[in-house]
């Protein structure tokens, strides 16, 4: 969830009303945003507001203020006008961009007054968009320019980096090779995360004006020449993208925000982008869509009963200008800032919010059902209770572990073990390299972490391990295991053995007839001290005295016996 920092007084002046922190918190809660933090700095009180991840229109103080002013009935939803100039500002997209970053959208805003607060808000909004919908500039990257310093038409192409010479934004010298610039920004914490997008490409995207001046080197940096300041009057916005629909969302969002500062509020000049193998794209889109809403469906879904007229006024407060079409139908206008609305269910939510979640009458569903336990869970729980009654304590260890835990520490050769394991491709820590195939390492680590606890330690766990399984659609399956360990000054094999007998007794499984032990060798166990547990002629697990090296590997000083068996055969 993005968090937007806004100056409180600026926000309230834009809403047209001042609130106490508590009142404002309540208002946010109703509307579905969250006043996360109130901080105070030199510029006054700052609100940190959490915004739902799909509401790009609320990522700036202008958007939040407009939405809340409409919500509280102070203003009407803003309208946007697209002006078509005699000569549209054109950008020609070269085919060289098509394999790298194929799309471009542009817009122009005239007679803009950029106050210092507006300037800051613009920078912040770009930052938020870059971070969220633009997916760290991989999908879309924004450049905002002072149009008066440039000579249209523009070109967008990909060029070898050594041909790109320009003064990058806020640097004081010209760089004659863009690849060197990548090296330079390698130490820039702000830009470093984006360099990988183009760094190693043979050609870099670049936007130039007709005199060859570089506007930007997307998605990394703009040129210094056309940078926007508080004295800028006319603005050119460009967004390069790998995802065209997201580029339009970004452009609409930026334009909607910036057009608040135009002499005629909401006026935007359209531009064109010319491709070689694609139709000319006229942008910004700023489409207003119409959706039809069935009043009964809304009432049924939300669990309320309001008239079409009430629903219209509710929708208007949510910024969705609506009209009653006939008795049961409402026509809803979706403004260009609400790209989050893709289905009537999204409008239904707005009705519910406008109506107020707190005003909906709670009721229990009429659904009558008979509940059932999952049989495997039921058996595990019953057995866990019995094992605890036998004096053992339940552990709760992680399903993911390191390769070392599974192989080296248990003295299992990695070469044979690894091909049978479920492996994680991107763990942040070595502790989560594989999905465990045994519960034993987890319990041994529990022993290791509880050295101060008086001996003997008697631990157990019923939990799932994961095995490869070609029968399953994912190629892997869970397997419910039971593991117990006993550690004391003597290994206590007889205790673990007794526990197995007890479990079998509880499961009404007869010794010799149905279960038995058979001497086995396993590197994890001490030589001659390991047995396979056989249930109805199938090996379901092993038990024995752990190998001293295994104990040292887990930092355990005391002898230890263990058992690990499968549970599903007993279902």
């Amino acid at each position: 969830m993005p968090t937007v920092s806004v100056n409180r007084d600026l926000l309230f002046s834009k809403i047209g009303k001042a609130y106490s922190d508590d009142e404002f918190d309540k208002l946010c809660f109703q509307f579905g945003i969250e006043l996360d933090e109130v901080a105070e700095d030199d510029d006054g009180v700052e609100y940190k507001i959490d915004i739902p991840a799909n509401r790009y229109d609320l990522l700036c103080v202008e958007g939040i203020a407009t939405a809340l002013a409409v919500f509280t009935g102070k203003i009407e939803p803003p309208r946007y006008t697209k002006l078509t100039p005699k000569v549209k500002i054109t950008t020609v997209v070269s085919p060289s961009t098509q394999s790298i970053r194929p799309y471009l959208v542009t817009a122009v805003l005239r007679n803009v007054t950029i106050t210092p607060a507006a300037y800051k808000s613009l920078i912040d909004l770009q930052e938020k968009l870059h971070h969220n919908i633009c997916r760290k500039r991989t999908l879309v990257a924004i450049g905002v320019h002072d149009l008066d310093k440039l000579t249209p038409p523009f070109t967008y192409s990909c060029e070898p980096p050594e041909q790109i010479k320009f003064v990058p934004l806020n640097l004081d010298k010209e760089w004659t090779n863009a690849r060197d610039l990548m090296e330079f920004y390698g130490s820039d914490t702000h830009l470093k995360p984006y360099l990988h997008i183009i760094k190693d490409l043979p050609a870099y995207p670049v936007i130039r004006d007709s005199s060859g001046i570089v506007l930007s080197l997307p998605p990394i940096i703009n040129g210094d020449h056309s940078k926007v300041s508080t004295s800028t009057r006319n603005i050119f916005i460009e967004s390069t993208a790998t995802d065209l629909s997201k580029a339009h969302v970004v452009l609409d969002t930026l334009v909607a925000m910036l057009s608040q500062y135009c002499e005629n509020k909401g006026e935007v000049e359209i531009t064109e982008v010319v491709y070689e193998n694609r139709p000319v794209d006229i942008c910004p889109k700023l489409f207003t869509r119409n959706m039809a809403l069935d009043v009964d469906t809304v009432n049924e879904t939300v669990g309320i009963s309001i008239s079409a007229g009430e629903m219209v006024s509710t929708l208007n407060r949510m910024g969705l200008s609506s009209q009653v079409k006939n008795s049961g139908q409402i026509s809803v206008q979706i403004p260009p800032t609400r790209h989050d609305i893709i289905h009537t269910c999204d409008i239904i939510e707005d009705v519910a919010i406008g109506f107020g979640y707190e005003n909906i009458v709670p009721q229990l569903p009429p659904t009558s059902t008979i509940a059932a336990q999952n049989s495997l869970n039921k058996l595990s729980f019953q057995l866990a209770n019995c094992v605890a009654q036998a004096g053992f304590t339940e552990g709760l260890t992680f399903s993911l572990c390191s390769m070392e835990d599974e192989c080296e520490k248990l003295l299992q050769p990695q070469a044979t073990k690894e091909p049978s394991l479920v492996i994680i491709s991107n763990p942040k820590s070595q502790d989560f390299q594989v999905a465990r195939s045994s519960l034993l390492p987890g319990l041994l680590k529990t022993v290791q972490a509880n050295k101060g606890v008086p001996l003997p330690l008697k631990l157990f766990e019923f939990s799932d391990v994961v095995h490869l399984d070609s029968e399953s659609d994912t190629g892997a399956k869970n397997c419910r295991h039971f593991c117990a360990i006993y550690t004391n000054k003597t290994p206590g094999f007889e205790v673990i053995h007794g526990l197995l007998d007890r479990i079998m007794q509880l499961l009404e499984v007869k010794f010799e007839d149905e279960y038995s032990l058979r001497a086995a060798e396993d590197p994890t166990y001490f030589h001659g001290r390991c047995a396979e547990v056989i249930y109805r002629n199938e090996v379901i697990g092993k038990m024995g005295v752990l190998h001293p090296k295994v104990l040292s590997n887990f930092g355990c000083a005391m002898p230890c016996s263990a058992i690990e068996i499968e549970i599903e055969p007993f279902l």
């Binding site: 109703q30 959490d50 991840a53 799909n54 969220n132 629909s245 049924e300 879904t301 939300v302 669990g303 989050d340 893709i342 289905h343 009537t344 999204d346 239904i348 939510e349 919010i353 979640y357 707190e358 909906i360 709670p362 009721q363 229990l364 569903p365 659904t367 509940a371 059932a372 336990q373 729980f381 605890a388 004096g391 304590t393 339940e394 552990g395 709760l396 260890t397 992680f398 399903s399 993911l400 492996i423 994680i424 491709s425 991107n426 763990p427 820590s429 502790d431 989560f432 680590k445 529990t446 972490a449 509880n450 101060g452 606890v453 799932d464 490869l468 659609d473 994912t474 190629g475 892997a476």
Partner: protein, 686 residues
Amino acid sequence: MAANPLIDKVLEYLSHTETVDTLQLATEWEEDHQRIVGAVKSIQSSGDIIEVEQRSEVRTELTLEGREFVSKGSHEAILFAAVPSGGEGILLPDLMKITGPNGKIGMSKAMQAGWIKSVKEGNSNRVVRLKESIEDKVQETLRNVAAGTTELDKATMAEYKKRKLLVQNTVVFMVLRKARGFTTVIEKPETDLTPEMIASGDWKTKNFKAYNFDALGTPIPAGHLHPLMKVRSEFRSVLFEMGFSEMPTNRFVESSFWNFDALFVPQKHPARDAQDTFFVSQPSTCNSIPEDYMNRVKAAHEGGSYGSSGYGSNWKKEEALKNVMRTHTTAVSARMLYEIGQKKEFVPTKLFSIDRVFRNETLDATHLAEFHQVEGVVADKGINLGHLIGIMKEFFSRLGIKKLRFKPAYNPYTEPSMEVFAYHEGLKKWVEVGNSGMFRPEMLLPMGLPEDVRVIAWGLSLERPTMIRYGYDNIRDLVGPKVDLGMVYKSPICRLDKQLCGHSFGCSCNIQKDEKSDASTEEEEASLMSAKAQVRNSDKAKTRLQVIANHLALQNNKHSEKSEEKQQENMDNANPLTSHILDTSRGRPAAGVLVKLFKRGADGNWVFITEQSTNNDGRIGNLISGAQFTPAIYKLNFDTKSYFTSKGEKTFYPFIDVIFEIEKPEEHYHVPILLNAYGFSTYRGS
């Protein structure tokens, strides 16, 4: 009978007299006072034999230097004696040679007193007597002080204290009198009833030792269920009672298709980043997806179907095939709903699950890479948002959470969506406890569910309410191999509906430590509906670190240390030995730690001197008086286990013995401990 001959000696003495105090006995018998106190305590435990009244008294005692004055004379008298009579006198360097290290003090005091003068001679000075004989008043006075025959006036007291000749100590002692049951012969009472006594009937005449009902009983050996699993059982019961059936969730590896695509999570959603989700490289892809269904899901994503404009970008099968460690159990809910959609006739259904889910997180006190998700789903015709609110109220009230409110929220597969907030009585604020919503038509319709079927669902983590309910502040103590078994052993049965104090959810009565609950208050946004257990690092944790940092800075900063010392000075003159314990795991002084002081006797045995607990500043002062503080080897015993136990923690060090040798008792010794559960250090301060 008495193993300790002092017991008989004390009783014998008291039989001839009305009252006596322990200090008097110590002086009379030339016995260590603490040993007498020990004998008195033994007598007290044997019944109503003596009456004991504790008193304290400020005593003036000579320091080592003071005692030297008494035996050898004051420094100035010694110096005067070293100056030959007559005008000849003695050269200063020669005089200093005779009088040794205390010569300078003697010199200045003798000159002040007008006994001698110093005349310049060449490069040196010659010292000559001004008087033929002098009276060593200091020696005289100190002798009287030692004998207790004089009261010093304030000025003299201050001067002698400044000269470190004497100190004033508060001495605690006991005044003894005969009690009703006084006897000089203590019969050893029987400790317990035996089979022999029952057989012989001896129990009728035996005297039985009183039980101490103030102590705890013996811990009972027992097995234990894990606290989180107990909470899980309780949640299961609640959901069964509400008519929910349990889903088979034993499937940790899931395809992106079921984990994301089936739920209408866009393929470019951040939750599908390697940053947030564990991808599986073996088996890296799933081998089958129901073909028809997959095509319907694709259509829903790309838009134009099911009344949706979709996400406006191409849906790729390769993305959907990628295996992940499931990020939520909603993947299983999707499979269940798909199965329902495949049936000829729709059957209303209520389902739940509680099982593990995985997030590619770095572990800290509030984040784990895997946690338990609780999820409930109701699918029926004609159900609505009011039903969801109703079921949330019912469910949470059974968990003891009555005050709820609902915030509009966003989640890719529910619309409308609601975050569930509960009022936390302890923190006096609303905290997020779960997430809920109605599944989107774009998710349900491709599954084949009828258009009029709506599905409401909610999710929360199991760990978070458990941490709030039991006041745990480190999730790693609760889940994972580093679980604290001591905590598991102590955990109560799970009665979520029953707050023991009778208050509500999160009431501070449940919070064992003042800052505990704080860590579990704030929830990080889950990109998906499943509520995330994970909680934000508390500011308090930061403050804690800051305190430690400050303290360490203090130790490196001589200037500050000096000012700290200054504050202590008054305390120190009377207390030649002090200690201080800083708990570096908290950045706080360790208060209430029992500290015992022992002195090694000539026979090599440790003689107990005193015990005291550290004050709120972790300091301890009044350990030993200047008189008792003689050159020897001492031992400070710190009872660290009780301290950590009281904090609900365990420690590697049940106690810490610090043994040190005192050669110059006239100096001040500060023996502090920097302590945590798995490490400590000590140094000599002054």
